[in-house]
Amino acid sequence: MIIQLLNGLQLAMLLFLLSVGLSVVFGLMRFVNLAHGTLFMLGAFVGLSTVEATGSFWLALAAGTLAAAVAGGLLYLGLLRRLQPAGPLKQVLVTFGLIFIGLEVARLVWGDYAERLPGPASLAGATEIFGVYYPTYRLFVIALGLAVAALLHFGLERTRLGAVIRAGVDDRTMTAALGIDIDRVFFAVFVVGCALAGLAGVVAGPVLSVYAGMDMGVLILALVVVVIGGPGSLKGAFAGALLVGMAETFGQVWLPEVAGMLLYGLMAAVLVLRPQGLLPAGPRA
């Protein structure tokens, strides 16, 4: 029971790292970057290659995060910004196409085989917690997720840039009218979101396997998180990730026959009862 709670929490933190960027970008720019999962995969593969070359997990963490940030930046400047006048539908379609391009590129560069990214030696083995042995590395994943959540919360709620982003989510025309270069804000948020996706990819490497196509499963989970939590909201992404992580973990083990349905049932229920999501962004009272 405690193990499953920890498993659920660990999956939730991975999903949070992945979906927070997706969610805030959705809130700011009103379109879903479906290639977000591809950047997650890119981070994992770059991390894998870095570990193979240097043997250092921490270097891999940095390299994977950086690679996803750079790729995200190029993607934004090269494609998505140009497509902005064409409207969100075209942008979504283009990012949808990018999923397949990313998949084939990953196959070409890294091959067809699943490999496990080895975790850091310092976090190998199990630690006793609440009376059970639990993998130390997974405790690190939980801690990292909580730390990033705290950092983002502070950044969004307590800094000027955070205020600008929140204003942008609420009303971007008005924000731009106040003399704020909204395009630069978009760019920064987009790149940070992509970097977090890359970070999630490397962090997921030792828990899941790294393979071409690893992005599809998590992308769907991340989209469910965004819908449940409410687009554009940090708290929503956090709550959504917790719900989805727990539902996925407990559903798999207790109700394996309906585990898939459980998740989408949850999403459907939220859409019917609270179409704006559990903790949507927007003007607070």
Partner: protein, 401 residues
């Protein structure tokens, strides 16, 4: 991955050399015997296995200089690209255009149906060097389809009794939710419970979707078994072996399974976490017989790694085919006589004595129970038990024999 690609290049060179030798042979009076290999050489999860089978079969045929009863043996390779329809098209090409005398393939059950149907209708001998689906040498058996590898049931049938006898009375089952998973778990379960064992939990995670064993391992710990019996191969096997240790389950129970769990192909990526696992399989590199010793020496000299069970099956397949061709006096026109010759021969293989059972067309072989252990700073194998002459019951196959 680069290793695999290098292996593929190597295999291609070996293949080219074989083809070259074959072409030289045609200059002689008699046309060569042609064997068509239909394996997934370029795509999918079984490329390494396809190469391992091909390379090892070449080692077996090299011993006779690619000659049987005065006829040259020629190997033709076709790539299924891991797609059933391509597999069937390639088999047709080999039979109708290249006029091969027999087919060897595939690796996995997904492509087997396509090859099976074609071989059965065209009345061409098909030799299966790996896929384990019970039905192919059971209720669906064909007089034209022979298997030199194993049936799923053959691997695990005696393991339940063995484990119950060793004091593993409470066992948890874990395998992917697909045909092979259910065949191997089902084959273990019945004899195990009949021997007084109890299955405390059995879990079948969805095939292909799962990439984390955490939730399943948590549930297994709660069930408090003496051992977990599993069937996994390739990357999921590596993940399971490592996560089993990370969750500290190795302190409380034994990890056991169909031996692919700790295959020589997976050991390098599993590291020391693979030590202390009990496996049951038709082959393990530690088998102590002269044929296996010589096979491993030659394989390791050539490829700088341990030959796996897939390689051993490929080698034994080569030996069996060679023995049958010799038995048939090099005559291959009468395909039914060729199949009869396959039934008639007895060989000493890497796995011990081997023959093809005419009642089912499945191989009769020894099954080995082994354990992995730390040998120096590497994980190696130790044979615990040898179950001799394991033969499948007909299981609905009406070949009679």
């Amino acid at each position: 991955m680069h290793k695999m690609r290098r292996a593929a290049v190597r295999a291609a060179i070996v293949g080219a050399a074989i083809l070259g030798a074959g072409v030289a042979g045609t200059a002689q009076a008699q046309a060569p015997v042609k064997i068509g290999l239909v394996l997934p050489y370029s795509a999918g999860p079984f490329v390494a296995i396809a190469n391992e089978i091909t390379d090892s079969m070449a080692l077996a045929l090299e011993e006779s200089g690619y000659m049987a009863a005065g006829r040259k043996i020629e190997i033709l390779r076709e790539d299924t690209t891991h797609k059933p329809d391509v597999a069937q098209a390639k088999a047709k090409k080999l039979v109708f255009e290249d006029k091969v005398d027999m087919l060897v393939g595939p690796v996995a059950s997904a492509e087997l149906t396509a090859l099976f149907d074609f071989a059965h209708q065209a009345k061409v001998p098909l030799i299966i060097p790996n896929a384990g689906d019970n039905e192919v040498t059971g209720e669906k058996c064909s007089p034209w389809v022979l298997r030199t590898s194993f049936s799923n049931d053959q691997i695990v049938r005696d393991m339940g009794r063995w484990m119950a006898g060793k004091g593993f009375k409470k066992v948890a089952l874990l395998a992917f939710d697909y045909k092979a998973g259910h065949q191997l778990m089902g084959g273990f379960k019945k004899p195990f419970t009949e021997a007084g064992g109890t299955i405390v939990t059995e879990q079948y995670p969805p095939f292909g979707r799962l990439s984390d064993f955490g939730p399943w391992l948590g549930k297994i710990r709660d069930a408090k078994p003496d051992a977990v019996f599993t069937f996994f191969a390739g990357p999921p096997a590596t993940l399971l072996v490592q996560q089993f240790k990370e969750f500290g389950l190795d302190r409380e129970m034994k990890l056991a399974g169909a031996g692919w769990l700790v295959s020589p192909l997976s050991l390098p990526s599993q590291g020391k976490a693979a030590a202390g696992v009990i496996g049951v399989l038709n082959y393990v590199p530690a088998i102590d017989n002269p044929v296996n010793k010589s096979y491993q020496e030659r394989f390791q000299a050539k490829f700088k790694r341990t030959g796996s069970e897939f390689g051993a099956q490929g080698y034994d397949t080569g030996k069996l085919i060679h023995a049958a061709l010799t038995q048939a006096g090099g005559k291959t026109d009468d395909k039914a006589a060729l199949v009869k010759a396959m039934h008639a021969v007895r060989i000493e293989g890497t796995r011990g004595p081997l023959r093809i059972d005419p009642r089912t067309n499945n191989v009769v072989q020894d099954i080995y129970v082994f354990e992995t252990e730390l040998q120096g700073d590497k994980v190696g194998y130790k044979v615990l038990d040898r179950i001799r002459d394991v033969q499948d019951p007909p299981n609905g196959c009406k070949l009679g024999g």
